[in-house]
């Protein structure tokens, strides 16, 4: 059994860590590229949203590397993603790709089935070892997030553009390669130490922007056209509403681990939205309020084109923008790979914020 799974940003690091800890054979698909997108677009229904297309491309490329079993997340609620695993399975079957697909539905909804599928994956491993592996994977995701948060803080300040991202790339590799708890810890602290050494200009004025929206477009740089790096170049410190380890701890570990970065989005969203609208629509609204209360200068909402939960959120954000007096920009992402349009919009958005700050300062004087 050679296991594979779709890409979503840095998710491959903890997932690979988990499976390898259990001595299972893993095939990580090549990083998403235009080829992945082309393959996905070719075989997907035109009206499906971007994540399905890229997932499919990932699977086909993993198949070429010898993968024979897919682990894929299911889902519940109004978001189409809940059905994607099934649709992808059928498309791959029609194409003649011989895969076994193990769909993991959320354990809080389908516990029995979840356990059965997990047993199929883990084989003869003991439950104790599985617990250790989950802990290891969680630690990896936590390490990745710690490094990433630091990178997001340093990007707008670095003296020589690109230094931070070079270290970041190495850091991800070393965390990915760590095979034990002790090497993981070593890799993490070394990476953080290296980042601390990056020459910075600390008197630069940094604009703080919260990235909110749909999970896949938030986490996958290939899809969001590296928006975090581009914002960094414009002198922006980015914080996302979603980080891998937070997502794991709130969805898979049922909040066994508390994390001070997780916002009580249901309470924050209260005057605007009191209902699960699928995907991360609720979180988007709640985090928008939360970020603006924390004094962020602006918010950027990301979503795949036609994403229903985010369209709901988008319409509500107008009111949040008015009440909280915070600029919000919504960007829908689809197949277009041209970066120029994105750069124009984010540059104008950052200009808007900077010019507003200047005016505020002038008036204060």
């Amino acid at each position: 059994m050679k296991l594979t799974f779709p890409h979503m940003g840095n998710m491959y690091i903890p997932v690979k860590g988990l499976l390898e800890y259990l001595d299972l054979e893993v095939v990580v698909p090549p990083f998403s590229t235009k080829k992945t997108l082309e393959l996905g677009v070719k075989y997907s229904p035109e009206f499906a949203c971007l994540p399905l297309k890229i997932n499919l491309g990932n699977f086909i490329e993993a198949r070429e590397l010898g993968a024979d079993t897919i682990i894929m997340a299911g889902g519940v609620g109004p978001c189409r993603f809940g059905l994607y695993a099934q649709v992808e399975k059928e498309i791959l079957q029609d194409l003649g790709y011989d895969f076994e697909t193990l769909v993991l539905e959320p354990p809080d909804k389908h516990f029995g089935q979840f356990i059965a599928r997990v047993k199929r994956i883990i084989g003869s491993n003991s439950w104790w070892k599985v617990m250790e592996a989950i802990k290891f994977a969680y630690r990896k995701s936590y390490a990745v997030d710690m490094v990433e948060r630091k990178v997001q803080k340093l990007r707008p300040l670095e003296k020589k553009p690109g230094t931070v991202d070079m270290i970041y790339k190495h850091a991800l590799n070393s965390i990915d390669n760590a095979q034990s708890f002790s090497t993981l810890e070593e890799a993490t602290s070394l990476s953080l130490l290296k980042l601390d050494q990056v020459p910075i200009e600390s008197d630069r004025e940094v604009i703080k922007i919260g990235l909110i929206g749909e999970i896949y477009t938030l986490l996958e740089p290939f899809v969001n056209l590296d928006i975090e790096k581009e914002l960094g170049k414009l002198g922006v410190e980015v914080t996302r509403s979603l980080y891998l380890s937070e997502w794991i701890s709130s969805h898979l570990l049922k909040n066994l681990i508390t994390d001070e970065n997780i916002k009580p989005f249901r309470d924050l969203a209260k005057p605007y939205l009191n209902y699960f609208v699928g995907g991360h629509g609720w979180e988007t609204v709640g985090y928008a309020v939360g970020f603006s209360q924390e004094g962020y200068h602006g918010l950027i909402q990301l979503a795949p084109l036609t994403c229903m939960p985010e369209i709901v959120a988008h319409n509500i954000l107008g009111k949040v923008k008015e009440d909280c007096q915070i600029p919000i920009l919504t960007i829908y992402l689809d197949e277009h790979s041209g970066k120029a349009g994105l750069i124009t919009r984010i540059e104008a958005f950052v200009d808007l914020i900077r010019r507003q700050l200047e005016t505020q300062r002038r008036l204060a004087r």
């Binding site: 590229t33 235009k34 600029p327 689809d334 120029a340 124009t344 104008a348 010019r355 507003q356």
Partner: protein, 324 residues
């Protein structure tokens, strides 16, 4: 006296504009880009040079528009700005108390909301170009009319017909259908203008509080049919500023003047540029499955710039070579 040059390289037009220290427009040029930005920039400079007073010097250059990076590289710009900021700056300079700017260009349309001369909100069309200049050009051509005749006809309409404005493909088939039913040309064109305005306000202008004074700029503002349709839909006067079709370039020139205060001297390479030969070529990099199309710029046969590679491998390689 010092002069400041603004260059706006858009998908449809390339505009050059020169202002003096007091923001008076000395000269402006509107050219069709015709898919060849390098040549149109060069042509624009060639046309501009003899028209400028000989004693004055260009003290600063700003570029904007979708071709702003290319233009900046070519002429040596002091400031490179996106078109939203450039348009807003120009609008606030022309009508200081402006609160809404409607801008419709060749490929995109945008709305900018200002308060006290500062942008507070903006939006740009995202995945659909319905209702932009290119579509109007196409429709005029289909009817065998020049875009000027097309625009004037709209004003003669007695009873504008209703045309679907959701998507330009549907709008076109709806127009053909109405034509075949025997509606008059002015009524159809006026109907189209209304449909485009509806589409603009529902898409780009969605959720925006459009308050007067309202400025309408960009190439499409030359079309009085659209202006009238906007006035009807918004129930307020819509002002088309004098330099409506070169506002981006005006904004870039003003920004250049602002930028030059902070730096010592301009990066402008001078009008000698027009003597040089510009050529570009491109190749597909097969370093990874992204297969980036890398573009190379040659000035007088020397490779001077590269862009288009996701990983910057080629861009960096050239920079290191130049640095050495």
């Amino acid at each position: 006296m010092s002069l400041y040059l603004g260059i706006d390289v858009g998908s449809v037009s390339t505009n050059l504009l020169v202002i003096d220290e007091e923001h008076n427009v000395i000269e402006s040029i509107y050219l069709r880009t015709q898919g060849r930005p390098l040549e149109s920039i060069k042509k624009g400079l060639m046309m501009l040079y003899p028209r400028l007073p000989k004693k004055e010097k260009i003290a600063g250059v700003g570029t904007t528009g979708s071709g702003r990076q290319l233009a900046a590289f070519l002429v040596g710009a002091d400031v490179v700005k996106n078109e939203i900021t450039a348009h807003a700056v120009a609008a606030a300079q022309q009508v200081p108390d402006v609160r809404s700017v409607l801008e419709i260009g060749g490929q995109d349309s945008k709305i900018i909301i200002l308060e006290n001369g500062v942008v507070t909100d903006f939006a740009m069309n995202t995945v659909c170009a319905a209702g932009t200049g290119s579509f109007l050009d196409q429709q005029a051509a289909r009817m065998g009319l020049s875009i000027q005749e097309f625009a004037q006809l709209a004003l003669q309409a007695k009873n504008p017909v209703r045309i679907a404005g959701r998507c330009s493909v549907f709008a076109e088939s709806d127009m053909i259908h109405k034509q075949q039913l025997g509606h008059s040309l002015p009524d159809i064109i006026a109907g189209l203008c209304q449909a485009l305005v509806r589409n603009y306000l529902n898409n780009v202008g969605k959720g925006k509080n459009i308050k007067p004074p309202v400025l309408f700029q960009g190439g499409v503002a030359a079309n009085p049919g659209i202006k009238v349709a906007f006035e009807k839909a918004l129930n307020t006067e819509v002002i088309v500023p004098r330099y409506f079709n070169v506002m981006g370039a005006l904004g870039a020139a003003i920004l250049a003047k602002e930028a030059i205060v902070k730096q010592e001297r301009t990066n402008f390479k001078g009008f000698n540029l027009i003597e040089s030969q510009f050529t570009t070529s491109s190749f597909d990099c097969h370093g990874c499955p992204n297969i980036c199309e890398v573009i190379e710029l040659y000035i007088d046969g020397n490779l001077t710039a590269r862009w288009g590679d996701k990983c910057n491998k080629w861009t960096d390689a050239l920079q290191t070579k130049v640095a050495n």
